[in-house]
Amino acid sequence: MASNRWEWFHRWGSPKWYYQKSSVWTPWLAVLSVVLLGTGLVWGLAFAPEDVKQGNSYRIIFLHVPAAFLALAGYYIMAIAGAIGLIWRMKLSFIAMRAAAPLGALLTFISLFTGAVWGKPTWGTYWVWDARITSMLILFFLYLGVIVLTDAFVRKDSGDKAGAILALVGTVNIPIIYKSVDWWNSLHQPATIKLTSAPSMDASMWYPLLLCILGMYAFYFFLLLRSIRTRVVEQDKSKAWVKEIL
């Protein structure tokens, strides 16, 4: 039956179902992220070999790159959640969008901050108008825009819709912004930073980095699911099922 085929999807419309299921999932995600991130960070920070050119300062990569990965992926997760909310009018999906916005902004900030800290010993300055840094900065602005817009509405469902529309417009815009910034950078300061074209990483550095990236994914989804849980409880605080739990 067609209704059965879609049942798994319709279940997501129930906050109560989500609350019960996520209390099973989140501990697993927590364990997974501790194992992956813990192993990756200890391996990367303590056991991976020193870089020939950059010495120990390169080790911030084990935090910088995973944060940047999730900062980018987070925007699309936010936008897809918003789109699902717009199309199927699913409340939980809008809650996921609202939860993903500050999380993504925080990760973008972390990757910008760690990049600046890394830049000082490597390039001799905290800030360079490099194509990637500039794109990340604009991504940070796009996140802030979604947060500010959704919070500006007193009526929740209006804020949900407005945020989803803006996030979707942003997804079309992001590749264009990236390409234009790339072009702009090649125009204004040709080949200042050769870091990206350096010979590929050695396996002894690459494996811990991969672990850190996977661990960051697990940690991201752990935080996202936790944040959605809190928001679900807050939204349904007058409903019977929440009163039963609390």
Binding site: I138, F141, L142, L144, G145, V146, V148, L149, A152, F153, R155, S158, K161, A162, I165, L166, L168, V169, G170, V172, N173, I176, I177, K179, S180, V181, W183, W184, L187
Partner: protein, 222 residues
């Protein structure tokens, strides 16, 4: 009523309210005049940054005037009527965007070389400066219209709008001022110029449904 009636109605409304029409353009002039005062009157210092300044201030000027797009129609309730109308909202949105471009984009493009002249800009770039602003303001108007429609029901909407619209103007700024830079340095103008035309056409074709959805959301929000 056909779409042509709407176009003429919106144009008439803009021209009846002369101060609304001229204020952003006066802002354009005053803001440019601040730079020599703040930076330096030396033409050697102003010349290399002149066209970039004109483009950036044109950007601010655009988002400054975006509030005029839907604010009056929202407070008078006309926007609710437009949502109900037989002409699709997206089509009305295109027409309104074009009217807005005629009222602000075209004057900005005409004023730009004069302001460039005041900043000691290389005269070989005047034509391209006007052309890029003429094209770029149309694309920025259609993206800005989304921001305007999203925030029109908010009390402090214009501040929020600035925040969401400016980052999206980045590609226009880059390709626009990049094309002028190419014209002045004698490089090939066509790559940045075609990119600018391309993103403008893309914005014009993708934005109307988003504007329509935003207007519906704002009307529902009341």
């Amino acid at each position: 009523m056909t779409i042509w009636h709407y176009f003429l109605r919106d144009l008439k409304l803009y021209f009846r309210n002369a101060s609304e029409l001229t204020t952003p353009l006066i802002f354009f002039l005053i803001a440019i005049a601040m730079f020599p005062l703040g930076v330096s009157p030396e033409s050697a210092l102003l010349r290399p940054i002149s066209f970039g300044l004109v483009w950036v201030v044109a950007l601010f000027c655009m988002q400054f005037s975006l509030d005029t797009l839907y604010r009056d129609d929202f407070s008078s309730g006309a926007l609710e009527q437009l949502v109900q109308h037989e002409v699709p909202l997206a089509v009305i949105a295109i027409s309104r965007t074009l009217v807005y471009w005629v009222c602000f984009g075209v004057p900005i493009a005409i004023m730009a070389p004069v302001l460039g002249l005041m900043l000691a800009m290389e005269s070989s770039g005047f034509g391209v400066l006007s052309l890029t602003l003429l094209v770029g303001t149309m694309g920025m108007a259609s993206i800005g219209a989304i921001g305007s429609a999203l925030t029109v029901s908010l009390k402090k909407g214009s501040v929020v709008m600035t925040l969401i619209v400016l980052p999206m103007f980045v590609p226009f700024l880059i390709f626009g001022s990049g094309a002028v830079n190419a014209a002045i340095t004698g490089a090939n103008v066509s790559p940045p110029l075609t990119a600018l035309v391309g993103i403008t056409v893309l914005a014009l074709s993708i934005c109307p449904p988003a504007i329509a959805a935003s207007i519906k959301m704002s009307v529902e929000n009341g």
